[in-house]
């Protein structure tokens, strides 16, 4: 979020020391794998110690519950890697939920058509955010706090006191159907997996994705290396809007009920999961597999704690603590590593750091001159 240089933990900048380790260590000894390991440990523990956790329904419900967070976390990861944030996603979920209901019930459109229009509107909502952030240059935190209230207000205003509940059974059943009868995987995982693969390709295996990381590390520098910073950010916000709208349709059908206040507060859950998954809030660092593990981790912990009959307040304390610990641990480890390397190599790194900073300052200066 901020453009501060000193406080940013070392990101995925490629430097030679990092490459001196073998690849398997570089892949396994990462934050992402720490989260995955923790997830496996929690699942293993819960399987053995939490009554009924190993039952056939656990993971089915788990996936149904976290599907909206899983879906929205994908574009949110990219948005946060560029150093921006989108707080309005949950309001877009609510708005799309209301729209599907209104278009289906009032205007008599079929669910797919209504859904398509809702996704378009979601994309427009995202485009509005994106326009203000990327082209007008406003801080995304402020903009999306505004649109958080705005989109939610439109949703609640449109539907008023009502809750629309008459959706065709065919569609509400589809939202809960399992891919293979008897297994734990609900149908919603198919679009999720498709989207996840698409986002992995986009972020980790495309020039666009490299641009996303570069923007997060330094958007001025990204601009000078030919990344279209404005267009990239704009597109990411559009994607966030569209995917949130899709999650809204799922939400509506899963609960069979469209209300203006659907999914209130979901944005903080999504962001918590993304950050837990190893994405740096400063931008420039993160990976999709870590985020997916982060979302599932939160889901598994909530599910296990509910089975142990802990109620929502204890669950919140645990998730909050985990979030705080996860960020502290990164910076603590970074700090320890820094101390270690400084002791080993004298004042080497600090002088090069200053150098880089100086260069950056010059670049910034030049760009303001150009304007």
């Amino acid at each position: 979020m901020s453009t501060s240089v000193l406080s940013r933990p070392e990101g995925s900048t490629r430097s030679y020391p990092a490459y001196s380790r073998p690849l398997w260590r570089r892949v396994l000894f990462t934050r992402e794998f720490a989260v995955i390991a923790l997830l496996v440990a929690v699942i293993f523990y819960s399987n053995n110690n939490v009554p009924n956790f190993d039952g056939p329904l656990t993971f089915y419900y788990l996936f149904l519950d976290i599907a909206p967070i899983l879906l929205i976390a994908l574009p949110m990861t990219l948005v946060i890697i560029t150093g921006e944030i989108d707080l309005s996603v949950a309001s877009v979920v609510g708005l799309s939920s209301v729209l599907v209901a209104q278009l289906h019930v009032e205007a008599g459109l079929s669910i797919p058509v209504a859904g398509l229009i809702a996704i378009l509107v979601g994309a427009v909502c995202g485009a509005f955010n994106g326009f203000l952030v990327a082209y007008v240059g406003l801080p995304s935190l402020a903009v999306t706090i505004g649109t958080l209230a705005l989109y939610r207000g439109i949703a609640v205003g449109l539907l008023g006191t009502k809750a629309v509940t008459d959706f065709p059974e065919k569609w509400t059943d589809l939202a809960k159907e399992r891919i293979v009868e008897g297994h734990a995987y609900p149908m919603i995982l198919i679009p999720f997996v498709v989207l996840a693969i698409a986002f992995v390709l986009l972020l980790h295996f495309s020039p666009f994705g490299r641009g996303v990381f570069e923007i997060g590390l330094n958007d001025e520098a990204a601009h000078f290396t030919g990344v279209n910073v404005q267009r990239t950010k704009f597109l990411l916000f559009v994607l966030a809007g569209a995917v949130s709208a899709f999650a809204g349709i799922y939400y509506t059908l899963r609960f069979g009920s469209a209300r203006g206040d659907n999914a209130t507060g979901l944005e903080l859950q999504v962001i918590a999961a993304v950050l837990l998954g190893g994405v740096s809030i400063f931008g420039g660092r993160g990976a999709i597999h870590g985020v997916i593990a982060g979302v599932i981790l939160i889901g598994v912990i909530s599910s296990a704690m509910r089975l142990e009959s802990y109620t929502v307040n204890k669950i919140n304390i645990v998730i909050g603590t985990l979030l705080v610990l996860s960020v502290i641990s990164t910076s603590f480890l970074g700090w320890a590593k820094d101390l270690w390397s400084r002791r080993g190599r004298g004042s080497g790194p600090s002088s090069s750091e200053k150098n880089g900073q100086h260069r950056q300052a010059v670049a910034a200066d030049e760009s303001t001159n150009e304007r």
Binding site: L138, I145, G146, L150, I154, G157, L275, N316, I317, G320
Partner: protein, 349 residues
């Protein structure tokens, strides 16, 4: 990037400068909108302003958000944000009620101090985590938002605070007026005045601005960044704690969702009042007027006949308008400053 004065202020005549400053002042712009909203609503329904209740509620209702927005401003100025204020408010509100239940004879002033300290403690936790570990405040306070609310709910359990648990003297504070101004509003205004004075004149206050406009420069310059940032969070927590006590006095009951979602309103009020989200600029006066505007609009809409369902949409549009306005103004100023700098730089370049 910072607004270093490249044009000598004294080059312009004092009267011109004051007039110009007034015209550009964000506080005056937001204040004008506030006055317009009040005027328009009063024309529709005179009792909005002129009845005793209308006048009292006009001043009383914003007092909570006023306290939160003032504290939030101190934090935002340092380029941080505190999302946990809503939970802090809830937790201290319950703490206040609990104090009265457990120690019925406690003097009211002691309870105010206790609430303030409780809030300061919660703020200290945020501050220490953010400043010592150098981690983003957004994440830390998002975490403590969950943690504080969880603690509040677990602690409160199924017990809650009812008006009958509280002494009459305390409940009366909720509506007592001195010279027609409600006591709780006076508390809010005093907190506003003290914080505003500190930020405007004291060395520590100016350093908060310096830290916010360029954290790295502040470190290199030798400012006590860690201490100041912790201080800002403690101040914000303490004011949220005070708001918790005020909440209990005003509403008399504390249930599990006290203060739910207030954090975004507090940030919104500050942003509307011209506090830049990236720190370094803005005043508590602006944030205070922003808080008054947000709350007053909420109260005015039903009177004007707009369904209360649309309130949130209006508030959202207002926040965006405020941010866009900021951008337009600062872009204009930046252009002017760059032009001025290019002139002064010409020989050296």
């Amino acid at each position: 990037m910072s607004d270093t004065l490249l044009v000598e202020p004294s080059a312009v005549s004092p009267t011109k400068r004051i007039v110009g400053e007034l015209l550009r002042s964000r506080e005056i712009a937001v204040g004008t909108v506030l006055v317009l909203v009040i005027a328009f609503t009063t024309i529709k329904s005179p009792s909005f302003l002129f009845s005793d209740n209308g006048w009292r509620d006009l001043l009383l209702t914003p007092s909570l958000l006023l306290l939160l927005a003032v504290g939030q401003t101190a934090v935002i100025i340092t380029r941080n944000v505190d999302l946990s204020v809503g939970s802090t408010l809830g937790l201290t509100a319950y703490f206040t009620g609990k104090l009265f239940v457990d120690h019925p004879g406690l003097p009211i002033i002691a309870v105010f101090v206790a609430g303030l300290l409780m809030g300061a403690l919660l703020g200290l936790v945020n501050g220490v985590l953010v400043a010592f570990f150098r981690v983003p405040s957004l994440v830390i306070t998002l975490g403590t938002l969950y943690i504080y609310r969880g603690i509040f709910l677990s602690w409160a359990g199924s017990s809650r605070i009812n008006p009958s648990d509280l002494p009459h003297g305390f409940l009366d504070l909720g509506t007592k007026q001195i010279l027609t101004i409600p006591v709780l509003t006076i508390i809010g205004l005093v907190a506003l005045g003290l914080t505003g004075y500190y930020l405007y004149t004291a060395r520590g206050g100016r350093e908060l601005y310096a830290i916010g406009s360029d954290p790295d420069a502040a470190v290199l310059y030798g400012l006590p960044v860690t201490r100041r940032v912790i201080g800002a969070f403690v101040l914000c927590g303490a004011l949220a704690g005070l708001a918790g006590v005020v909440y209990t006095a005003r509403y008399g009951t504390v249930s599990s969702n006290a203060g739910y979602g207030m954090e975004l309103q507090a940030v919104g009020a500050a942003v509307i009042g011209g506090v830049a989200i990236f720190g370094g600029s803005g005043t508590v006066w602006g944030a205070a007027i922003g808080a008054f505007l947000l709350v007053t609009i909420n109260r005015a809409l039903p009177v004007v006949g707009i369904s209360d369902f649309w309130q949130r949409a209006v508030v959202g549009a207002l926040i965006i308008a405020a941010v866009v306005l900021d951008r337009v103004l600062s872009a204009r100023q930046e252009r002017r400053l760059i032009a001025a700098r290019d002139e002064t730089r010409e020989p050296s370049a």
